[in-house]
Amino acid sequence: MSTESPAGNAVVIERILDAPIGTVWEMWVDPEHFKAWYGPKGASIPVANMDVQVGGKRLICMEMQTPNGTMQMWFTGEYLEVSSNLRLVFTESMSDENGNAKSPSEMGMPGDHPIVTEVTVELEDLGGQTKMVMTHAGVPQDSPGAMGWNMAFDKLTQYLDTQPASS
């Protein structure tokens, strides 16, 4: 169900949105709309520079409050396909605030090479509603494994924290 990339390493999510196709397109290409939905709960998107044309760059900053202060995460990428109201493809990697891609090891995670992932958004007009299919493909096979376990254990820790002590 979620294994359509060559590597079988992709998330595919399909949604029917109750909005016209043009509005859904704006959600992805208009920075103000993008900021409104993209960040995780409790986070904000102070920067969304999006030069939405083939070869155009993007630079996104996610900001969240932690017990140790404000944490910023920067993501860069390039638009590979831009077909208005139809199809959008862009790459994404973690970066510094100038848009220089960083390797996971520079971010304190396992892996020496920058991880580039690719997001594809496909829209279909259903007459007032819009079908949106998003595919997020992970390019490398090796390094995310170790990172995956770290994240899984982080999730496990969080989950355990919500559990009553007895059992």
């Binding site: 999510i13 949105l17 496990l156």
Partner: protein
Amino acid sequence: MTTSATYDDQLTRTFAALANSTRRAILARLAKGEANVKELAAPFDLSMPAISKHLTVLEGAGLIVRGRRAQYRPCSIDPAPLEAVASWSEQYRPIWEARFDQMEDHLRHLSQQPQDNQTLKETTPDHEH
């Protein structure tokens, strides 16, 4: 295609099953090879029914499979749910699902406002009331 609920349920069952040191120890033992209930119970100061309960939880989470023979029911580990938890793509699924929930909220918010093409451009999430 709403896979998120199913996925969350699976994740919850996996984590719930793992949230117990006896069950983690049983999994660690089974990672070395299959074993029956008696063999699994040996290292623990627990009754056979107590061990069976833990095995039922692990089985329900899909973490182990049990053989069919009534007397000797060897247990073996099934790594698929752990791989699902750890796989690159499954980490991202809940993140995107949450984002798209927020996109739907934002779209709903937009559709409740009188709008033309201009206000669509100018709307920010800060104009709540």
